[in-house]
Symmetry: D3
Amino acid sequence: MPIAIYAGSFDPITNGHISIIRSGLVAFEKIIVAVLINPGKTPLFSVDERFKMISDALSNEPRIEVDCFDGLLVDYARRRNVQVVLRGLRAVADFEHELKMANMNRHLYQEMETVFIMANDYFYVSSSLIKEAASLGGDVLGMVPKAVAQKLREKFFPQEPCQNKE
Amino acid sequence: MPIAIYAGSFDPITNGHISIIRSGLVAFEKIIVAVLINPGKTPLFSVDERFKMISDALSNEPRIEVDCFDGLLVDYARRRNVQVVLRGLRAVADFEHELKMANMNRHLYQEMETVFIMANDYFYVSSSLIKEAASLGGDVLGMVPKAVAQKLREKFFPQEPCQNKE
Amino acid sequence: MPIAIYAGSFDPITNGHISIIRSGLVAFEKIIVAVLINPGKTPLFSVDERFKMISDALSNEPRIEVDCFDGLLVDYARRRNVQVVLRGLRAVADFEHELKMANMNRHLYQEMETVFIMANDYFYVSSSLIKEAASLGGDVLGMVPKAVAQKLREKFFPQEPCQNKE
Amino acid sequence: MPIAIYAGSFDPITNGHISIIRSGLVAFEKIIVAVLINPGKTPLFSVDERFKMISDALSNEPRIEVDCFDGLLVDYARRRNVQVVLRGLRAVADFEHELKMANMNRHLYQEMETVFIMANDYFYVSSSLIKEAASLGGDVLGMVPKAVAQKLREKFFPQEPCQNKE
Amino acid sequence: MPIAIYAGSFDPITNGHISIIRSGLVAFEKIIVAVLINPGKTPLFSVDERFKMISDALSNEPRIEVDCFDGLLVDYARRRNVQVVLRGLRAVADFEHELKMANMNRHLYQEMETVFIMANDYFYVSSSLIKEAASLGGDVLGMVPKAVAQKLREKFFPQEPCQNKE
Amino acid sequence: MPIAIYAGSFDPITNGHISIIRSGLVAFEKIIVAVLINPGKTPLFSVDERFKMISDALSNEPRIEVDCFDGLLVDYARRRNVQVVLRGLRAVADFEHELKMANMNRHLYQEMETVFIMANDYFYVSSSLIKEAASLGGDVLGMVPKAVAQKLREKFFPQEPCQNKE
């Protein structure tokens, strides 16, 4: 029963990620969405916040499990006894990076295979571009789930709710 | 039980194709290797020859089925009731072409997903380059199965066995 | 008053072409859609048919002129006294080819500039892929205007209407 | 009367930028060269210095306006009532990044179009590579206007004029 | 004493080829310019014509040898006892193709190395684009040596001199 | 007698680098492996450590010289009286970057040529990916020489030897 891991920072999850996951559910029985905890980076959202946004966005998908991990993806995959890693692919620059990663991962865990699904680019904008736009007041609804758009506004314009107060 | 179709001309099958198929068996229960019959092209090997070379090369894999089809891949996939198409991916030029094909196929059959596996490029040389080299007397063993290398020699140098005759 | 030429085979015009033209009308006062007559190629549709399909698809755009030309694009641009060529751009492979063409055209006509608009890839599938799909019975509506889809069916399945006759 | 915005950091303006602007003037009535004020980055030159270097380099072009902006480019374009953004394009890596940006900007401001002009690569070297070379004493004349080369020397080797003093 | 082979169709030689050869002479003692005789293709110029155009264009370079070969490049290199193949590289599409070729050649002749020099793209336009432009009456001087431009005119417009006769 | 410089950070040297150097020795009489001292970056290994790891890995190659330099590569090449720079090339992203660098270097030192050798990608993984994997406990043997793998373990897990002590 093939299971796949879909790993990433998900800081935050976007409609592009969700589109890849839904496509992946056509090919796999179950997908583990695994949030990477990277001590070397300062994310915008805490692991708990990212975990919750993913769970909420995919709450109607019983074949999804949300999880966290740190360290090497190959070690996590071994621990979970999963041999397939799912990745989204959109641009040539992605492709190059993914090729290097797949090369590296083959060195580290020969039995693991990486499979790719092409992102529907209508939904595809990277998390970092979305954060940049949101930080400057851009309306990112349509690129992220509604709840994520709301969370981004709260992060970047925390006083905003107060303005509506009185 | 996810099944995937791996379609192509396989004129002839190469070690690159075989490497993709073996990687695909990690992710899928069963793979249908489907030889495209393209009336608009003149292949080097007949469908029967191509079919036999594939079957021989993969005879030790019980989870492989070899089949033929003509017409649109999406129609074949519908007939076979399969929703996953497997593709190998190695170069950026492949990537571009595949992106266009995946786009097209989404228009024609929305429920079908294309998944990609990166070819190990040690084995990766295209069928047409291999045919060109073989036609000029190059030794292509290592790039194709042994039986295929033999068939290529017979195609391009049919008199050769006679020279050893007397 | 900047005018741009948008040249191509348009065999047939697709929704991708139409999307580029509409985007181009934001930047330019007028766009000349110029059908290339290439004696070295055998198109599916005659120049008249292609001309008519373009005119019909863009009949509600007063700032469009449809025209034909043979020979070098730079010579046509000189004759029309136009210094801007508009091109659609979607894939990296396009990009490479366009770079070579732009290089060549700069040699041949220094005052002419080529400007590019990125295709919205929801609509983007090449004419040749569309013809291939249509020739195998694929439904290409959504990728070409309705009248073009009808013309493609008539080309590839001319007897079809008869089957419904009695 | 089509106007285009050509935005960037211009830290400093290079001959590559100037070549794009001159090409753009073939296609557009007027070009607004807009210096992005990015509070998150520490530029080598102040906004005033960058503004002045651009104005000096393009002083003989009456159809150029130099301006500054912060925040989202789409918001600036809306404020200026301009619907066309001009971008230079040279390398495939540029292309990928630009595709993502254009995608994002379409989400944020549907009526805005991005048009691209291929850089003549004789002049094309990025500002950051030029700064790196200049900081190590490389002679960057030919890649930037003469006044900019002088300013770069002053930034990186401020004592130099003193050595000629006595 | 490293010698390199620079092989190609040279149908005809362009200023791009000449630029690569001159750059190659910085790195190598001697370069063999080897014209590929490909029986499967119909060139515009005969092998003799191509040979002569190359010799004329490079007559002032004593470290150049012009030669012809058919069959596999690796077999020719073995016969000549040369282990280095020189290639020009300009576009990403070239790069992909070259990567496949280099892969193939490593299979066929492990001791041979392929080295690449980036073309100065001012001179870089492919032979086939140049032929297409010349066949339509375009002036290709500046992209090919003067004698080659003359030969192209003679091929495509053979009666032309007669028109000036009386 | 052509000599080439192969410059880089080598932080640390990988099997990919070594493969490029060995290929380069087919084309060149001698190769200077030049460690770039970049005061703006904090390397994992000191210049001495990097120098020693390179020397050890290539100790059986008499035609190799290991050296260090700071400042511009072109200035170092001039000082060493060398006109050829050797670079490895594997991915399209590399290619783009290298094209920009080669462009820049041609501006700075016209007589210098950059030649490229395609990396055998079995060995090709970047130093930074290897460091990331090693820092998380991944086994990088096979991607770097044995002595380098040992040094990486000592850097990232300095107490480890102590655990075996008693």
